[in-house]
């Protein structure tokens, strides 16, 4: 589904990603872990197409198409979803209005007919139930006055509504208490199937207790320095990052 080859990117002269290689197939869950400043969020932003980042080398193929030249909205329309670390407020626009606009734009782009209001509302109710969201939420303004937990849940709610092929969860666990974390993780697990893929970006192992990855990658200083199965996450939790980052630093210096 997603193939990243030798990806080098950064902002202005500051190179942040220094040659990322990653392959994600349908049905898989990948965790990307690493210390602060290792480039995790940059990787998420570059895949989603945030314009302030400049790609200097390498490529990103999504379902065998090169997506580097595509705008963020075109990537989203192809099925790439980013759950933001810091979801943005849009005052005056209700959650339902925003999601309706988002779905209709995506359907338009893929040549599908608009969804009827009735079907849309039914789908919203179903997904709200799935994520344990109380009624009244749909008429609130996008992320305005939301608590940290509500914002993250709103991200996963949009993911449920848009049904993307690839979901990238950027630090979805940050700012969540344990109950909220469980609800959000449960939601993500329920949305998982053999046709979609998930990339979970996290600093801590905690989230991975709930969303169990098939692969774990350690990102450090713009490179994936170690990949393994879910046991790697546990090892990191126990020993910290130092033992592999030191080794890697020796190799690249």
């Amino acid at each position: 589904m997603l193939k990243i080859k030798n990806l080098k990117a950064g902002i202005e002269d500051n190179q942040i990603l220094k040659g990322i290689n990653l392959e994600v197939n349908a049905g898989e869950v990948h965790a990307i872990m690493g210390p602060n400043g290792s480039g995790k969020s940059t990787l998420a932003s570059v895949i989603a197409g945030k314009e302030e980042y400049e790609v200097v080398e390498g490529n990103i193929d999504f379902e065998d198409d090169d997506i580097l030249e595509l705008s963020p909205e075109e990537r989203a329309q192809k099925g790439v979803f980013l759950s933001f670390q810091y979801p943005v407020e849009i005052p005056g626009i209700s959650v339902s209005n925003f999601i309706k606009t988002s779905i209709s734009e995506q359907r338009k782009a893929t040549g599908m007919k608009p969804m009827s209001t009735k079907d849309l509302l039914k789908m919203m109710r179903d997904k709200m139930e799935l994520l344990n969201i109380k009624s009244g939420y749909l008429s609130r303004n996008m992320n305005e006055g939301f608590s940290g937990g509500e914002k993250k849940r709103n991200e996963v709610f949009q993911m449920a509504m848009l049904n993307p092929k690839l979901s990238i969860l950027d630090e979805t666990d940050s700012g969540l208490d344990i109950d909220a974390l469980r609800i959000v993780a449960n939601g993500v697990n329920k949305l998982k199937n053999k046709n979609n893929a998930t990339i979970v970006i996290t600093h801590y192992q905690r989230l991975l207790d709930y969303i169990v990855p098939d692969f774990v990658h350690v990102l450090h200083n713009g490179r994936i320095i170690k990949s393994g199965g879910k046991e790697l996450a546990l090892e990191l939790e126990e020993k910290g990052y130092d033992w592999i980052t030191k080794e890697a630093d020796k190799k690249w210096d």
Partner: protein
């Protein structure tokens, strides 16, 4: 179809056809225009051409004399070359737009805008002045409207007709809210106004429909110096729509309208405006100067609510105001003012609290894009006798790009210490983060801007009558197209 209805339809048809005929074929033997410039003679000619009674001529002459002694105000935060008032033609017969054979002859850019606004084909023809078709539907709609109104005793006609047919009412109220000497432009308007609307709602009558100038049959385009007088008698209610979302082009650069509202005891007036005069081209050349005086007076328990969506004009100078004279009266002002390219706007409101327990609310939303400059200027005055009066003001500005400007000038004068005043103001920019967030959800940048702007203006757009609100929303989208690169 009843005979009565049939007859009035025939009459209308005849009226419409004869009008087309007049515009399309013959030239009046009588000269349609008078020489340039303003003098006592010109004022007399205007009054004579309109066959006005002597009191009206006197009113105009007094206004002209007052105007001579006044100076054009320059306190507004706008820059423009002051018009040469001796280089303006102050009277011309109803404007003759070129008559088109079909919509295919319409300027494609204009047609495009009509389509985007979702204006019906029939309405497009009317706006673009397409000949031949007389649309049965809209004629009969208008006929039944007229019938419904007259059954309730509501008078809704041009101010010229009102001067002839309802002189008592006009004489009593004209200039009662905006005195001739109020300001430079109101004096000018009082001396030379060409036409406008008149509306009277009798005691206790709730106007059964929204009144819009669109349904005033035979209305010949908005005049350069428009005059509107609206009187809501005791306990009556009316909602009035002015303007049009369709772009209005006009070769007359200077526009100075006066609108007066009178809300008697317990009356309720809602006045909504969508203004989309030609703003000039991308370089700021051409465009209409719009200097408007709008004011309403509220007697006991009365309410006046102004809602405006301002997207047009090169220069806008406009402060719809409320004089809260009666106890417990309420004034409201809801405004969205968009400036793009080189547009300049200085707009806001005045709330003058005179009566006890009077309340006012001001919600002003400015949006500046391109190299434009948007200003909010507002006055809240609480006079000595206005015990327990309250005001809430919220003035927000939204900036798009880094070459535009926005300023807020709130004036507050309080002479009664039992009153309460709140003022909130914010300035924000459409952030890259907001746009990227929308983009990531599959929403393109133009659409994202429209979404964000609509959210920002929601409190004001919600005040507009439903259909108008939808059109206004689309108008905002169009006005800001291409404003973020």
């Amino acid at each position: 179809m009843s005979d009565k209805k049939k007859r009035s339809e025939d009459e209308l048809l005849e009226k419409v056809t004869s009008t087309e005929y007049k515009y399309g074929f013959t030239t009046d033997i009588e000269s349609d225009t008078i020489p340039k410039g303003l003098s006592e003679e010109v004022v007399r000619i205007i009054s004579a051409k309109k066959n006005e009674p002597s009191w009206m001529l006197e009113y105009r002459l007094n206004a002209y004399k007052a105007w001579l002694e006044m100076e054009e105000p320059n306190w507004a935060n706008v820059n423009y070359k002051k018009p040469d008032y001796q280089d303006v033609i102050y009277y011309s017969a109803p404007k003759q737009k070129p008559v088109l054979d079909s919509l295919d002859d319409l300027d494609p850019e204009m047609k495009n805008t009509f389509d985007k606004l979702g204006i019906s084909l029939e309405e497009q023809k009317k706006l673009a002045n397409v000949a031949v078709d007389i649309v049965m539907d809209s004629v009969s709609v208008a006929t039944s409207f007229k019938e419904t109104l007259s059954e309730k005793g509501i008078i809704f006609c041009s101010i010229s007709d009102a001067i002839q047919e309802h002189p008592k009412l006009v004489k009593k109220y004209l200039g009662s809210v905006v005195p001739t000497r109020d300001n430079f432009f109101s004096a000018l308007n009082s001396a030379v106004f060409s036409d406008g609307s008149f509306c009277y709602i009798p005691k206790g009558v709730k106007c059964p429909m929204e009144l819009s100038t669109y349904f005033r049959i035979n209305e010949a385009g908005t005049g350069q110096f428009e005059r509107t007088l609206l009187i809501a008698d005791e306990g009556s209610q009316v909602s009035y729509l002015e303007g049009c979302t369709a772009p209005m082009r006009d070769e007359n650069q200077l526009h100075a309208a006066v609108v007066e509202l009178v809300a008697m005891d317990d009356a309720d007036i809602k006045y909504s405006t969508v203004q989309n005069w030609y703003p000039g081209n991308d370089e700021g050349v051409g465009g209409v100067f719009n200097f408007v005086t709008k004011r309403g007076i509220c007697y006991k328990n009365a309410k006046i609510s102004w809602t405006q969506v301002e997207t047009g004009s090169a220069v806008t100078w406009k402060y719809p105001s409320c004089i809260l004279k009666g106890d417990n009266s309420i004034g409201e002002f809801f405004s969205v003012a968009v400036t793009n390219n080189f547009q300049q706007a200085d707009t806001g409101t005045k709330m003058i609290h005179l009566g006890k327990n009077t309340k006012s609310t001001i919600i002003a939303k400015g949006i500046s894009a391109g190299k434009s400059n948007g200003n909010y200027r507002g006055l809240v005055r609480i006079s000595k006798g206005a015990t327990n009066s309250r005001n809430f003001s919220q003035c927000d500005s939204l900036l798009m790009g880094d070459k535009c400007g926005s300023h807020t000038f709130p004036y507050i004068e309080v002479k009664n210490n039992s009153s309460k005043i709140e003022h909130e103001a914010t300035t924000s920019k459409i952030g890259e983060d907001q746009l990227f967030y929308c983009n990531q959800r599959g929403i393109g940048t133009e659409q994202a801007i429209a979404l964000i702007v609509n959210g920002y203006c929601k409190d004001v757009l919600n005040q507009l009558p439903m259909e108008f609100a939808v059109e206004a929303q689309k108008l905002l989208e169009i006005s800001l197209e291409g404003s973020v690169g």
